[in-house]
Symmetry: C2
Subunit: 118 residues, 2 copies
DNA sequence: TTGATATGAAACCAAATGGTTTCGTATAAT
DNA sequence: ATTATACGAAACCATTTGGTTTCATATCAA
């Protein structure tokens, strides 16, 4: 799962809002570039470059059909993101987990109202 | 949960590997800038700017203690990421979900070995 | 064959990004 | 009071990014 030395990593790929919209769009169905472009206010070439970046990150797959290239979502690299995120799961709204974390790490970053470490 | 019109959004904030390391580091405990810098090969000012970006995204909180500024992780904005990611959950390794998705969307992007739509 | 359509590649550009060094200022220590 | 420490702000710089327009090529249609 370890990044596979791709030219573009997932984190950087999804940083751009246009690319996130692309993923969302291609999740519903496979589409040729021209159709995809209909959903964006930028040039076809610009869309093409975004698609290249997504492909480099492994997030979309292309398939030639006649003179058109159809793109579709390839969701598996998002697992890397999910995995990364899972580290922080314990910090959310789970008091028990917080306590567990506190115990495990000794006098951690729990702070009282004075603003000083306990 | 809707982005709150911050100067930097979470997606962009976590795109940089240095910033991801920072989050990871500050998850364990609150730290002043100088200590943080000890973990990175770049200048203090550079680290400071990364911290500013993380703070703008709401991912770290700062607290002045004497002449030092201590930073700590603030994980809640990561929920936006989790939420975004949850949309794609159904695409992973769950054949039932795939089928459900297929049924719901009619003849979607399911493709056979010939490489043509069914 | 002769267009028209679908797309990528190349060259180019302005703005953003990640880094540096230098300077200013607030707090702590002597 | 003076010096040292901790930090942010400002100015600057090279590279990357997101966009454009123009050109080349492959396929479909007449």
């Amino acid at each position: 799962m370890a990044a596979l030395s791709r030219k573009h990593d997932v984190f950087q790929a999804i940083a751009d809002p246009t690319r996130r919209k692309l993923l969302r769009l291609l999740a519903d169905k496979e589409m040729p570039v021209t159709v995809i472009c209909g959903h964006f206010p930028i040039s076809r070439t610009a869309v093409s470059k975004h698609l290249r970046i997504l492909a480099d990150a492994g997030l979309v797959k292309e398939r030639k059909v006649g003179r058109e290239t159809r793109y579709r979502l390839e969701p598996t690299p998002l697992l890397e993101l999910k995995e990364w995120l899972s580290f922080y799961e314990r910090f959310w709204d789970n008091k028990m987990a917080m306590l567990k974390h506190y115990v495990e790490n000794g006098k951690g970053h729990i702070v009282d109202a004075d603003g000083d470490d306990k």
